[in-house]
Symmetry: D2
Subunit: 366 residues, 4 copies
């Protein structure tokens, strides 16, 4: 499998550097007949874009998606869908001095050692710019999942630094620039992030994604488990250091009587499993969370070395996010959607459509 391709049957192959001429992707394996138009991409790309508020990088990403192929008279044809976004506001001069220096906590050091060459402009390929195409590809996936199976994938910020929501309201999530589910805390968050930015520092975050309506049966044991693929997908997002399904690390301190989700004819009594048992969806909401590290691109100088191995001070003065986790919500949703559509197609391949080989247990509402 090529390292820049994601998925087995619904594959997304991305290309492009942060400050190159363009980024793009090829979506292969999309079912035919799905209505797709350039404006479908607008909402999610805006949610992911920098420059949306003062709390994210001030790089302006216009992000106009051009559909190059695979759509005829507004419908997918089953052939590969080429998507392209031209890079516009790419100020490479900001990064020039970093060519010979490795920024601590960055991929500069490892890309150089791996390839012997790297594109230093804006992080090149290791930039979060690449995730734009994940979001674009997932627009197609989300739409198909919703139309065909009623699956809805949505996420929210669940923690930033030490702050956690005190109450939860899905409706609030899209009403603030933080994807924060507690509307009463938005002013507090603004103050917190402003202070961080002024201090030239950054902070980590936690994002949770919930997929409702996932049919029981999706997921493939034993290495293609739904949770294993979610873990890979989510860990592949820049800055992610941890992935949890359902109870996640809280399960370490639970007993079996606490953790197991008992079943009644009215459905499961809890969802510590996060909607997945044995790698297969149980019919409950699929719940995944990720930990994002604080970006290393900060104003506070740090110690590093240059190509000659000599000690240097590094201070990143480009346009960066004080908390990369803020914009990670649509990206995490995208990866969950891409995993789900892939599993949907794989299930259909081996077992036929949902419910074909086994009727749902009567009464159980899962």
């Amino acid at each position: 499998m090529a390292a820049n391709a994601f998925g087995t049957l619904f594959t997304v192959t991305t290309f492009g550097e942060s400050h190159g001429p363009a980024i793009g992707c090829v979506v292969d394996g999309c079912p035919p007949g799905l209505a797709i138009a350039p404006e479908d991409f607008r909402a999610d790309l805006d949610r992911r874009a920098t420059g949306r508020s003062r709390h994210t990088s001030q790089r302006r990403e216009a992000d106009e998606v051009e559909i190059l192929s695979g759509v005829y008279e507004g419908r997918t044809t089953g052939t590969p869908i080429g998507l392209l976004i031209r890079n516009t506001d790419a100020r490479s001069k900001d990064y020039r001095e970093l060519t010979e220096t490795f920024r601590p906590g960055h991929a500069d050091y490892t890309y150089w050692h791996k390839y012997g060459i790297r594109d230093p402009r804006g992080g090149g390929r290791s930039s979060a710019r690449e995730t734009t195409m994940r979001v674009a590809a997932a627009v197609i996936a989300k739409k198909w999942l919703a139309e065909r199976y009623g699956v809805r994938v949505r996420g929210h910020l669940a923690q930033i630094g030490a702050l956690v929501p005190r109450r939860f309201d899905w409706d609030a999530v899209e009403d603030n620039p933080f994807f924060w589910p507690d509307p009463d805390m938005v002013a507090e968050l603004e103050g917190y992030v402003d202070a961080l930015r002024k201090a030239g520092d950054s902070v980590g975050a936690r994002v949770t994604v919930v997929a409702d309506g996932v049919p029981v049966g999706w997921g493939e044991p034993v290495y293609g488990k739904l949770d294993a693929e979610l873990a890979s997908a989510l860990m592949s997002i820049n800055a992610v250091k941890g992935v949890e399904i359902g109870a996640g690390f809280a399960a370490v301190a639970q007993t079996g009587t606490q953790h197991r989700d008992e079943i009644t004819p009215e459905g499961f009594l809890s969802n510590h499993a996060g909607g997945i048992l044995g790698g297969i969806a149980s019919g409950q909401p699929v719940v995944a969370s990720i930990a994002l590290k604080p970006t290393s691109s900060i104003l506070v100088p740090g110690r590093s070395v240059n190509l000659a191995g000599e000690p240097v001070q590094v201070r990143t003065i480009g346009r960066h996010d004080p908390c990369v986790g803020i914009r990670a919500t649509p990206i995490a949703e995208a990866m969950v959607a891409l995993v789900l559509i892939d599993q949907a197609l794989r299930h259909r391949a081996q077992c036929g459509d949902v419910g074909e080989v086994a009727p749902r247990v009567p009464g159980s509402r899962a």
Copy 2:
């Protein structure tokens, strides 16, 4: 990619049910010339085996590995290595009553809905029995990684319930049945697990794996990142609900100045990254941790439904582990080793051998 195959270039395809005639695997892509003998498998299979102490399932796994192919006169030939273990102590009668009932927290429910049929004997394919072949395959991987690159992969239990080690000693890990790094706490653990077993309950655990000697450069952006593949590999282990690389979820509350690992000519000053930057190994130890849920196979009765959707009480009386995390250490090591050898081969394919395209930065000891 087949769901029961792991890896891209060093692939492991497993088969077998818990109580079928045998389990086995095919290891494909192994470099030729590696010395392998049946006795090489003994140590790690024993570490993983049940019945080793009173703290794990009392099923006796003799686990004699037969090498069916791919080795000639004691050396790998580059052709696929077939490995086979006959199932011996498989008491299917223990499980018969569960055929029509779904155990809460188990894969019974989801396998049935996915496939419309399931092998109920001992959990069938969803049993941890399958992980035996992962450990066997990883014996080959570990040996090649050690001989060719000096890579060492080892793990330990890092938490069980609320208990965490008070001090850390690698040498202690293999001297107790818990893989516990604090020798002073072994008696405490024994009492804790005995009490759980008597109560008919179970508990979760945390396991940490460390790989030393991983060369800078292994790992493939952007979807084949070393951490993404570790996440998938580790999450594919039965009962795992969370994966962390380096600081993991602790990164959520860290600032950039705290988290970034500064570099000096003498090497990195910390390892919050867990040895991975931008998906590529940095040359520091690779550190990954997993959360394992408490097994749902417990004596305490729980509510569930049967095939007809009617409410039933379920009580699992087979031979089970009070903490599946105890035996998970060699399995987690195995998955890390399988990821590393695959990345090693992929790196060699694209970039030549370690250090071929880029010399190590002088002075930096990583």
Copy 3:
């Protein structure tokens, strides 16, 4: 993709050397619920086996298939199916003198240069013995294709040396040891092959496989075309040097007016395309032919070199076939069946079941 695995969704991973303890395979991705029993394998394995008549190698292949997993109470469960055949009549002593010598026209030379080591016993991994597992795996594929879609895959010898059938009768094919469709020529063939064997020489052959009932729509443009996958599958059979679809090389001298298969409401008027247009099945019979070279394992001495590069005379005195093409018919059928089931599952994944996205053109019987 591992080199010893075939297929994308219905994958077959084989292992085993000609004279090792066993050969086997793992079939992954099989739809659940298919009835499979050990006796299902008997007919096709017998058709492929050596020692069936004096016209093939006198090695006796008992070839008892053991089903190790993936089948519960006589039905496939959707989990991987492990199949095993112990090697019994393996006389390694015949081959011992060849360890230091390269047989002309054999894989000895290339395996040694590739791997630096090779199992010389009976050709090791390069032996046609490996194809036994292809035939075994294809028994499952053929059964599912027949039961679910009414697809029938069958083949025949179409040429041996300069001999071609003068008339064609499917019913005759299974009534002679040559899979020859002209019953009047069987005695002639027997004399021809007897003479070859006495002369210590061998000859090439041509085999044709026809798949009836393949639904219009199977096949994936542009690199996963049905014909591209058939070409790969058939060329991967030992000794195959050429593959044709439909008219094949005869198309070189045809004009467009001759070659194109015109369509009427009653169906296509010819089938030069061999049932495939643009890489997708047209609904006509799928027709593929292969050229098999004469085996190089012959009694007539030939010039070669040894490991030291010195000239040697080589004479192969093991038990070999005067025409490997004779037994190739069930192997070629197997590969066609494996390609078809894989394409069937892939079609179902992307487009739903046959006919779901597009009704058949009315009237056209294809």
Copy 4:
């Protein structure tokens, strides 16, 4: 594996329809450090382009390649290389009447049945236009193969209709619009093709590709054999109906004494094997040939049906080639080069660089 991606380690994912806004591809897995500039693509794209002489389609393909990513300061960085060509001279009106009609011998019929929708403009995705990106991607592959291993891949037309070269001169091949190796026959060919075009008919062709300098050892048994992958690659080219390696179908009538290539300390005495034994390169030139059918897009009317299943007359009046085989030479070379680079990387992954595990047999010049 996605159906529009080719290769395992050096992968090429193409997208684009004949008359859509653009065609393009993503090349993933390219070794870093290779010098690549836009002008490198010129020569091979011109060789493939239509409109080069009166003997090919009069569509003018300017085919300016834009490098969108993966190259920094003129060298590959190891990240995916995005290539884009805008479609310019696309006259969709020529094709409009074909929307409701299936052209005999074309993919119209099968695309429609597979997907329930098709882009009728210029054949959409099934057009040979797609092969432009194969040629572009292969420019990179050819360059790396030549620079690193001295491999040269070149092809020629070997037959058109009943005409075969009477003598062979590599130097002549690039001096005529037919890639014909016999300079004395060029006038004859011109007359032949002119006559065909005037008759509104077309004819088939045979193309042969030879790769010199392929190191012994490349190729992966048993399903990833070098010849199996060549067969798939070449059969995936539009209009190809047959593939031969070395002697190909001529091997059917050969005896073992004729076919086997004897070896002496000075090298092989013949090359009926086409440079491949047991799926692995022998060090001799790799020789592959293909049969191309006569295009079905001809002026002579043919019988077909429309969407309603009613009989219609079809006459193709777009700009088409009287012999699509003429332009197939660079496409066939491209596919051979893509197979070789992929096998080169895979060999390096498992066995290290060429010659690492086994020195060449002394004296034998292969």
